[in-house]
């Protein structure tokens, strides 16, 4: 097993004819992902290296059986693309695009949650289930199959930690980059829940960073609901205090949001937090020995 993407994934890339969409879409296919379609309005009927392109996601679903969408369209069109995917019946929507306006995401989040769709991103590197499917921009070659679930708000930091694990001979069940934006489709808790239900995942690494309170909430959730062991890494200990969001921001988040606060919240639930990516990998190795 694996979570979010696997051998049943039938991928459509929204924006397949763009340079990034083409590069990563074909790279995902080369990895073995079942890339069944692309969507670019006005280019329906064309193909990208043999992959049929459609005008609408609905066509990609109807005619190519797509069930998972990877979004590579520019930020100002990304909201529209997400709605299109959801309403076309796509079950898993993964949005790589960064700089999506937060009010767009506010509407989309409220819209898709009751529908049971899985959404990852925006502003995320995607999801990789080694040996099964890679959907997004994660460089799959640095990861191998294994039992460690990895969930992270940061893309490149995920690669770094995955890389360190690989150096120690450890592989991953699934790597999920949830994205660093204020509102993303899947929170740490959403992904932890999926990992908990995945028999293949024996240990989870959670990679957080300063800002928001998702790590604190995840700590609470892990303490209450999880049996799979979790280790963590938090980035941003040396970051200067952020610019104030006015009084209201401070009242909402209280003292949470700093790297220290997050580390303490996790440790209070017995979750070890590594000081560097290297140390986290070593802690994982120790646990799995």
């Amino acid at each position: 097993m694996a979570i979010v993407v696997d051998n049943d994934t039938r991928l459509v890339v929204q924006g397949l004819t763009g340079s990034e969409g083409r590069f990563h879409g074909l790279r995902n296919r080369a990895y073995g992902t079942n890339l069944v379609a692309g969507v670019t309005p006005g280019k329906g009927g064309q193909d990208v290296d043999g992959v049929p392109v459609f005008d609408t996601v609905a066509d990609a679903v109807d005619k190519a059986g797509a069930n998972t969408s990877l979004i590579f369209v520019p930020a100002r069109f990304a909201g529209d693309a997400m709605y299109e995917a959801i309403d076309a019946g796509i079950e898993t929507v993964i949005c790589i695009t960064e700089h999506v306006p937060v009010h767009d995401m506010l509407g989309i989040y409220t819209y898709f949650r009751p529908k049971g769709v899985t959404m990852v991103g925006p502003n995320c590197p995607g999801v990789l289930s080694p040996g099964k499917a890679n959907v997004g921009i994660i460089p799959a070659e640095i990861f191998s199959e294994g039992v460690v679930g990895l969930v992270s708000r940061s893309g490149t930091l995920t690669y770094q930690i995955g890389h360190e694990l690989t150096q120690l001979g450890l592989g991953n069940s699934t790597i999920v980059g949830i994205g660093g934006d204020p509102i993303v489709g899947s929170s740490f808790i959403d992904i932890l829940e999926k990992f908990e239900a995945d028999p293949e995942t024996e240990l989870i690494v959670l990679v957080g960073e300063i800002g928001g309170d998702e790590e604190e909430k995840a700590a609470q959730y892990i303490g209450e609901h999880m049996t799979t062991p979790v280790l963590a890494y938090i980035a941003g200990f040396s970051a200067p205090p952020g610019k104030a969001m006015g009084h209201a921001g401070a009242i909402i988040s209280g003292s949470s949001g700093t790297a220290v606060a997050k580390k303490e919240a996790l440790e209070a639930k017995g979750i070890e937090v590594g000081a560097t990516p290297t140390e986290v990998a070593q802690l994982v190795a120790k646990r799995l020995k």
């Binding site: 506010l106 893309g155 690669y159 509102i183 960073e209 969001m245 006015g246 209201a248 401070a250």
Partner: protein, 381 residues
């Protein structure tokens, strides 16, 4: 993007929230002209993107052209929490009977806009939240429902506003504040204080207004409000170049791709005993041109002694980064900077080959993040 008080009030005015009449002034002469135009008792207010300006002497009552000009002279140039006052807002003074607090902000935890309101104004709002939480009404709005009048009623009755005229005025302000929040893609709209004058008029005496940077393309007029002069000059240059850059106080220049990896690199440099000079994120694209820009930004900081490139390619490609570094060495005067380069991920091998072929003695390849950090710290010593 944070707006100045007077800019926020301009947006308030556009949606119909009552504010005092005023003029912007960038010099004592401007202030004198504003005084002559407005007449009567006025307030001279420092425009700075930080709090505590009142205590710092940044807000003064004045009457008449001479007095206003003098107060403007006093305030311009003040340093308030590291922000130098370069702009003033001169507005008609208001008599204050009562001070309330009203805000709407994006609660990222709840994924909903959150209204907060209290009639216990005049003290620090954080203090009220802490000490008398029952006096602060908090209410989420469901984005799919949008604003409904009951939201204003919950705030008003919850906050204990009993005067019917005040209730009516605040209801209207709450609705308009929601509209401002949505229409201008705000993440924060705060009115502190929302005052009641002795004749019962409710208005916004201050504004704190933050607009989502990612939505500025929808609001070119708001985007133009940005005061590029107020920022740190290197940060302003970085913005101009489209580079995400935060100046720190050390000697190791750091460039990473992705905020998480860049932040972690700063942490690791500190962890191995070094002092990071900055946080710099190449971002997702990571074109060769972007690399040149980032190097140009970082080397404007005279404290920088060495530079550490920590790149783990995903959407960023190692060969592009390498090409950027070589291009920068060609175009900029980079001779005094040892550059430690650690490349992994997409097309990293190709990137490492390009750098090796160039054979520049200033380029120090390293295989791991930790080793790279150590080497950069050594080279900065």
């Amino acid at each position: 993007m944070d707006l100045y008080e007077y800019q926020g009030k301009e947006l308030f005015k556009r949606v119909g929230i009552p504010v005092s009449e005023g003029r912007r002034a960038d010099s004592p002469q401007d202030a004198r002209a504003a005084a002559q135009e407005l007449g009567g008792q006025l307030v001279v207010k420092a425009q700075v993107l930080t709090g505590g300006r009142g205590k710092a002497g940044g807000v003064k009552l004045a009457e008449g052209a001479d007095d206003v000009e003098q107060k403007a002279k006093d305030i311009l140039g003040l340093d308030i929490n590291g922000h130098v006052v370069r702009r003033l807002w001169i507005e008609r003074a208001s008599d204050i009977e009562r001070e309330y607090y009203l805000s709407i902000t994006l609660d990222r935890g709840a994924k909903k806009p959150l209204f907060m309101f209290t009639t216990q104004g005049g003290v620090e709002i954080e203090q009220i939240a802490e000490e008398r939480p029952e006096a602060l009404v908090r209410l989420h709005v469901d984005p799919s429902e949008g604003f409904q009048p009951w939201v204003a009623r919950r705030l008003i009755y919850g906050g204990g506003v009993t005067d019917p005229s005040e209730q009516k005025q605040i209801t209207s302000i709450v609705e308009k504040l929601y509209r401002a929040f949505v229409e201008f893609d705000a993440v924060l709209c705060e009115i502190n204080p929302l005052i009641v004058t002795p004749d019962g008029t409710v208005k916004a005496l201050d504004s704190k207004f933050t607009v989502d940077d990612n939505a500025l393309f929808r609001h070119p007029d708001v985007a133009e409000m940005r005061d590029t002069a107020a920022a740190d000059p290197i940060e302003a240059f970085a913005r101009e170049k489209g580079v995400t850059y935060v100046k720190l106080d050390g000697s190791v220049g750091i460039i990473g791709n992705g905020a998480g990896l860049a932040m972690s690199t700063v942490d690791v440099v500190a962890h191995v005993g070094g002092r990071p000079a900055n946080f710099c994120d190449l971002g997702g694209g990571g074109s060769a041109e972007g690399v040149v820009d980032a190097l140009e930004v970082i080397t404007r900081d005279p404290q920088v002694k060495s530079i550490f490139f920590n790149i783990f390619g995903g959407i960023t490609r190692g060969d592009e980064v390498a090409r950027g570094i070589l291009e920068a060495l060609d175009r900029l005067d980079m001779s005094k900077y040892p550059i430690v380069v650690r490349l992994d991920g997409t097309n990293a091998e190709e990137g490492r080959r390009l750098l090796a072929e160039a054979g520049n003695p200033n380029i120090h390849p390293e295989a791991t993040m930790l080793d790279g950090a150590r080497r950069a710290v050594e080279l900065a010593a």
